[in-house]
Amino acid sequence: MSLPLKISAHEEMIGTKRGFSLARREEITGWLFITPMLIGFIVFSFGPILASLIISFTDWDLLQAPKFVGFVNFAKLFKDDYFIQCMSNTLYFVITMVPIILVVAMTLAIILNQNIRGKAFFRSVFYFPSVVSTVAISMVWLWVFSPSDNGLLNTILHKIGVMNTPDWLGNIATVKPSLVLMRTWQSAGYYMVIFLAGLQTISPELYEVADIDGASKWEKLIHITIPLLSPVTFFVTIMLMLAAFNIFEAIYVMTEGGPGGATNTIMYYIYHNGFRLYQMGYASALAWVLFLILVVLTIIQFKLRKEESQ
């Protein structure tokens, strides 16, 4: 970053000959190389964030010119029963999915970090579903959860003697846990790989020292592995939180928000308002509220983490 304050006479001479000093040339080249990416992100990312905030203060159906309405959309939001339902459904997914997937992923990573026969195979198999699209996976899981004799899960349950099986996706009580199960199945392997990468960074010497001290496996796990994984755990928690708040595709394909609105999530509601009802202002207000919630939660987590490490 630091630019040379004094340019040698020789360099200066060359520089003036070409019109620019060397440092100046480098500066221009540097900016030129990032220009395409920067322009793209200004147009399609930074600009839209700002535009989204502006649109959230308007009433706009895309047919007529947007009408400035102040905070009306935000006021409406807190009186909107659907919004409250969507928010509580979304929170259900966040509160269940984040810890469950975290624990499953970390456990799998710790197990597969040991010398187990076929560990490379197991790693690939657990990881694979996360590279497949959620739409395709949802199509498959519609068959897993299918209520009649044609569903895989119920057929297996019948085989092992459980006869009173529910209509997993058609029942308010079971639909959310079913989606949590599917998402865990699909994405635990992804976070497992991140944990595995984190485990590689823990020095084996620490375990050797612990062995000399006669520490048990369990003690090593509690006092070495888990504390030293905490930066990765922190990072995975934030990623999981973002993913859980944004849950959309599985709901779009599998339940469309039903039954009885039990899987109406905030993301699905944004989609519904924006692209089915064409209420751009209200949908933007929803998006911004979700955005602010995510920002606040992320800041809280960073603060907690700082306190923890102090």
């Binding site: 989204s52 895309l62 187990i116 199509m139 895989l152 751009m280």
Partner: protein, 283 residues
């Protein structure tokens, strides 16, 4: 002592059995889908889903998927769009990554952090303004909508970070000699540096293409014309239209999964590498 060893062995065995059981639950749904895509609708709804073997074998599911539902078109669209987007991302992001790794300029750190920061921004905030922009440009139902804005997504940032790390790991001397000889910076980058980053480029290509292949919400919003749909949107669209013909739908699902499966089997290590980088890039 002997008891302890035995205990450990039994524990190991139990763990192994558990892992095998888990693996079966991971693989079985995919296997089932591939087998079921050859079944007749009657067999699918016959109440014996665990009977894997299609009887009779109905290859027409694929013919129908190809003709009756334009899945072939969906596949070509997706291949073309994901390919174009990935190529553009590689070009744009490796240039930026090179600049951040090698060149000094004012404001470099701020721009770098701002670009990385976009990974933390949930896509839904930019969804509506970008849709409005597409309408304004009259790009709704045009391939441009699926090709241009998508270049600048989080994969682009991941790739930029990946490339920057790689450039930092190769010696400066590589291109400096050429630059002293009067070669322009871009030419040195293009002809000398970039060909030396093949492992990073492969990782980038794989994760970029996979993200493009699987993307759903954006193509769902900007495309209504069936002929221009991508595989994921087409699949979900036809679920609504031919909901009774599950044989065809499962053939479509298989076509959406199998290419990914093949790419995964061949290039697995790049997937993992790219993911670990993207994981730590956001940190």
């Amino acid at each position: 002592m002997g008891n302890v060893v035995k205990k450990i062995k039994v524990g190991r065995l139990l763990l192994f059995v558990m892992l095998v059981a888990f693996s079966i639950t991971m693989i079985y749904p995919f296997l089932w889908t591939i087998f079921a895509s050859f079944k007749t609708t009657e067999q699918l709804f016959s109440g014996k889903p665990l009977d894997l073997i299609p009887r009779p074998m109905r290859i027409e599911n694929y013919k129908d998927a190809w003709n009756f539902v334009p899945f072939g078109r969906f596949l070509l669209n997706t291949l073309f769009i994901a390919g174009f987007v990935t190529l553009m991302q590689i070009l744009i992001a490796s240039m930026a990554g090179y600049s951040f790794a090698r060149l000094n300029f004012r404001g470099k750190n701020i721009v770098f952090i701002m670009l990385l920061g976009t990974m933390m921004i949930p896509g839904h905030v930019t969804l509506i303004p970008n849709y409005v922009l597409m309408r304004y440009l009259k790009w709704i139902d045009k391939y441009q909508a699926l090709m241009i804005p998508v270049i600048f997504n989080s994969t682009c940032v991941t790739g930029m970070f990946l490339m920057r790390q790689y450039f930092l790991s190769i010696p400066k001397e590589l291109e400096e000699a050429a630059i002293i000889d009067g070669c322009s910076r871009f030419k040195a980058f293009w002809t000398i540096v970039l060909p030396n980053t093949k492992p990073a480029l492969s990782t980038f290509a794989i994760i970029g293409f996979n993200a493009g292949w699987n993307s759903f919400l954006w193509p769902l919003i900007v495309i209504n014309d069936v002929k221009k749909m991508t595989i994921q949107v087409g699949l979900s669209y036809f679920r609504g239209v031919v909901s009774s013909n599950w044989g065809v739908l499962l053939a479509g699902t298989t076509m959406a999964i199998v290419p990914v499966m093949i790419v995964f089997l061949i290039f697995q290590k790049y997937f993992v590498e790219g993911m670990v980088t993207s994981g730590f890039g956001g940190k």
